[in-house]
Amino acid sequence: MTLRRFIDQAVSPWMQGDGPNVDIVLSSRIRLARNLTEFAFPVMATESQAKKALDFIRERLEGAEYHSLGKFAWIDMDRLEPIEKRVLVEKHLISPYLVEESVHSAALINDAESVSIMVNEEDHLRIQCLFPGFQLNEALTLANGIDDWLEQKFTFAFDEQRGYLTSCPTNVGTGLRASVMIHLPALMITQRMNRIAPAINQFGLVIRGIYGEGSEALGNVFQISNQITLGKSEEDIVEDLRGVVMQLIQQENAARRDLMNFSRIQLEDRVFRSYGVLANSRIIPSKEAAKCLSDVRLGVDLGLIKGVTRNVLNELMVLTQPGFLQHYFKETLEPEERDVRRATLIRERLKKTGLDDPIE
């Protein structure tokens, strides 16, 4: 059954693909929010109204196929265990909101897990397209195609002046949230990020750490997304984000070059120490794991560490989060026990790569 695979595999098939600038930009995402005219928005709907909307959408989408993406699997949230939902959130296939706040909700997910359509989230439909690396335009094209396909089946709430009508005023207009997940270890090590983050906000973009609480960036991974959805075309929103991300890539590359040229031995020390921690520790909290994984990824990107693939690191990034870890070991774990299991899991995965001496 497909559902099992969505939950059991840490790395989505789409993540294994290659993409431009994949050493810095982990993924690109486009999300479109859409509502149906005939139903109250999920936030305001009574339970029976929410059920009606869900059934209406189910009737038209369950088993539906979209071109090359193939069939979508329909997953009812009411039928999942809390831990299974958490796994889907950690894979970014559904939002925390869908799990915590929604009533009678569902998600449609394609085989590659590159597209998910959430039903009865804050809006009736939330289309999400994920691409590896820096491919915002490709993701927008796909999302637009899926949007057109859905519009043949549903009448969307749209107003000539306000655009696509959404439950939250922050999404009205295009309903578009474009974002990238970006790994910026060198900008963090060289402490240049403090200067850059406020500048990004001035472009109407939001930068936040992911995998962490609040705005803390666990593992130096950030999410950058547009804040404004009204008064700009979809193409302009994506282009403005693309421009800023391009500059960030250049800055990160410059910082990496500086580290290699002026602090090579310190950089190597940091990278190999972290490798040593991952390969040998018996207890490792998620924070430390994320930091070490970031260092090792940087080492791989710069060719200092050979034999470890980005895929293994991607997998560990997802697999070492609390929900996935507990699912993997098929039991609820106390935080202390999680740290032990996490360390075991990481050691095993790194050993599997057959790397005894990572230096040469």
């Binding site: 958490r86 000539e160 295009t174």
Partner: protein, 173 residues
Amino acid sequence: MECQECHLRPATLHFTKIVNGKKMEVHLCEQCAREKGEVMAGSNAFSIHNLLSGLLNFEEMAGHSDPFEEPSVLQCPKCGLTYSDFIKVGKFGCAECYRAFRDRLDPILRKVHAGNTVHTGKVPKRTGKGISIKRKIKELKEKLQRLVANEEFEEAAKVRDEIRALEKEGDVS
């Protein structure tokens, strides 16, 4: 209220969920919620709520000048959401709310969207055909004015024909 799981710590998370088709209230402490996988990292939504509450206070402070005026309740006729509840919750209840609260929305949207109040992006292909044509006509009329001002009459004639054709198409649909 104590946490229903450990009965030790106070419950700080309250939400409803559906179990076997029945709505259930859940009250958990932070720690139990985390252990049960009910809470996820990174769910920090941009707080429009605070922004809107601020706006409401401002309106209340400005107040009604006439004390004898009946306080009319602005309410969406379709879903029943009142304007003051909209401000409190920060969410619209249905598509009709946008029409019901139309006169009050501009300042809110301007604040959230860097001064913008009008959509300029995508239009639905099937149901928005008329809107697309209207937009195109508006664009062409502006172009026509520029051409006439520059005395490029040959090109202007072409654009004028284009506008006429589009206007016909718009009438049909």
